[in-house]
């Protein structure tokens, strides 16, 4: 993978200087490459990875499987457009398999999420059925293991 994207994907807060040192490119080059990635929409944004379990009050997350009937000409795009406009919705994926859209939703309480599904998602034109799965715990997200236990280096041999 392009090392610049690899590094930013690991840690978007690396300074230009650090990125320049690690990739062996000048700071100007790195800056213009980042701008280029942004312009092309390869880099879509920079977000903090938050362990929501530790935030009080901690929000509720759910995966909702949506079966829909695709529209003539539009396919799934039309329904996806409408689902992704809803602010409770975190991500929407078109899936191959038993259902069509995977919708990740964030809400304040389970009740909120359930109401959201009943009133706003299932009522959308062309939604055939929904199945709601609540997230109980997150072990790994976006490639980062969410774990507070102290990492122990498994390498016993100290030296040489």
């Amino acid at each position: 993978m392009e090392p610049l994207l690899h590094l930013l994907n690991q840690n978007a807060r690396y300074s230009l200087k650090e990125l320049s040192v690690m990739t062996g490119r000048s700071e100007e080059t790195v800056a213009s490459q980042i701008k280029d990635y942004e312009d092309k929409g390869i880099i879509r944004g920079y977000q903090a990875l938050i362990d929501w379990e530790k935030v009080e009050p901690s929000p509720v997350f759910a995966l909702i499987e949506l079966k829909v009937s695709p529209k003539k000409d539009m396919g799934f795009q039309d329904i996806a457009n409408r689902v992704m406009q809803l602010e409770e919705v975190q991500s929407v994926y078109l899936m191959a398999g038993d259902y069509d859209l995977a919708v990740f939703v964030k809400g304040d309480t389970m009740q909120d999420v359930a109401m959201f599904v009943a009133r706003r998602l299932s009522t959308l034109d062309s939604v055939l059925s929904t199945a709601t799965h609540f997230v109980l715990n997150r072990y790994k997200q976006d490639g980062v293991i969410i774990d507070d236990s102290k990492e122990v280096d498994p390498r016993d041999q100290m030296v040489l």
């Binding site: 090392p3 590094l7 690991q10 840690n11 650090e18 040192v21 690690m22 990739t23 062996g24 280096d153 390498r155 041999q157 100290m158 030296v159 040489l160």
Partner: protein, 387 residues
């Protein structure tokens, strides 16, 4: 008690001088180490799977003494493709228990008491004891930072005598990260080509070089091929240290005594590890590439940070170590490491552990995550300011 109950040469050999640091480090909480000399990557899964498959099929017997022919064939193909080296899998390759065993076997099988062995330093700490245990005499070739820790012809000429039997050439270098390019090797080859000498070239870090030219081996020179015992292994390139699998390649007349020795001492390298190694050679190129590019990022980061905190650091082009000059601190290597450990709980290795000419330097390993390296360097920077 018998006066000489244990081997007198062994009794005389000094235990590694760095032991005491690790005794201190082990007692401490919150120690952050940059001292380990093995990859932080896990062995790639497909390689581990190959060993699991071998266990499931019950392929747990001895292999031929020289190793599975399929593995020797794989090694032969790999060396040809990767480094343009030509070794016959049937007669010129033996699979060993790590490159360390290959070194020991070559040294013990080929030396006679009183032979002089030229050892380039600073280098891996085991060469000298191995040579001594073979009743031969180590003669040290010093290298310096001014020459980027490369072996220079003048040093070789100065130490070469009528008793010189063997040269141990350890590049890319642990601990300095120095490499020998083709141009660097040329004068050495020119000097040695008509001499009666054997060259043990330890190229365990061959896959980890960071310049555009890649790795050069003295075995690539046709006029040297007949004198060279080429040693490599899977530990560093494929992150397979614990599998203990390496190999020696040499012309048949030299390989036969090495194989004989190996047969007496070891029988064969672990068969399961050999199956894993076959898979590594067949499908591991992209793993090497991935690990190398990760090491390279860390290497650049470390060198820049060390230089900017005032520790002069020549640019290492191989292995996964940097070897900064700490003389500006006014401390000896050991004093520096001990104080750094006690004051800031950071463990690095004093350069003199790798030979006297390593005095004034420390070895820092970058087989750690950037996050880990950053934390250790922040502490080192604070340490330097406190001096």
């Amino acid at each position: 008690m018998m006066e000489q109950e244990i081997n007198q040469i062994l009794a005389r050999l000094k235990p590694s001088g760095i032991r005491k640091f690790f005794d201190i480090a082990n007692e401490m909480e919150d120690v952050i180490s940059l001292s380990i000399g093995e990859p932080d990557f896990q062995t790639p899964w497909h390689i581990r799977q190959a060993a699991i498959d071998a266990i499931e099929k019950g392929r747990t017997f001895y292999s031929p003494n020289a190793g599975l022919l399929a593995l020797r064939q794989g090694i032969s193909d790999y060396l040809k493709k990767r480094f343009a080296l030509d070794y016959d899998p049937k007669h010129e390759i033996v699979v060993t228990v790590g490159a360390s065993e290959a070194l020991d076997m070559a040294i013990r099988a080929l030396l006679n008491p009183g032979d002089e062995v030229l050892i380039v330093q600073p280098s891996f700490v085991c060469y000298e004891p191995m040579v001594e245990m073979a009743y031969a005499t180590p003669v040290i070739l010093n290298t310096q930072k001014e020459n980027s820790f490369k072996l220079r012809l003048e040093e070789l000429e100065a130490k070469f005598t009528s008793k010189t039997k063997m040269l141990v050439l350890p590049f890319p270098s642990n601990p300095s990260g120095a490499i020998m390019t083709r141009e660097d090797l040329e004068p050495i080859v020119e000097f040695l080509k008509d001499k009666d000498i054997l060259i043990v070239t330890d190229e365990i870090y061959a896959e980890l070089t960071y310049n555009a030219m890649g790795h050069s081996s003295i075995a690539q020179f046709p006029q040297m091929k007949d004198k060279v015992i080429y040693i490599n292994g899977f530990s560093k390139a494929y992150a397979m240290t614990g599998w203990r699998i390496g190999y020696a390649c040499a012309p048949r007349r030299l390989l036969e005594p090495i194989l004989k020795m190996h047969q007496f001492a070891i029988m064969c390298a672990p068969t399961l590890s050999q199956f894993a190694a076959i898979e590594a050679l067949a499908n591991g190129d992209k793993d090497i590439e991935h690990m190398r590019s990760e090491y390279d990022l860390r290497r650049r980061y470390l060198v820049e940070r060390l230089n900017s905190m005032g520790l002069d650091c020549f640019e290492p082009e191989g292995a996964f170590y940097v070897f900064p000059d700490i003389r500006s601190s006014g401390l000896s290597s050991e004093a520096f490491c001990e104080k750094l450990l006690i004051d800031k709980h950071v463990a690095v290795v004093p350069g003199n552990a790798f030979g006297e000419c390593g005095e004034g330097f420390i070895r820092i390993s970058y087989s750690y995550s950037i996050k880990h390296i950053t934390e250790a360097l922040d502490r080192m920077e604070a340490f330097l300011k406190s001096l």
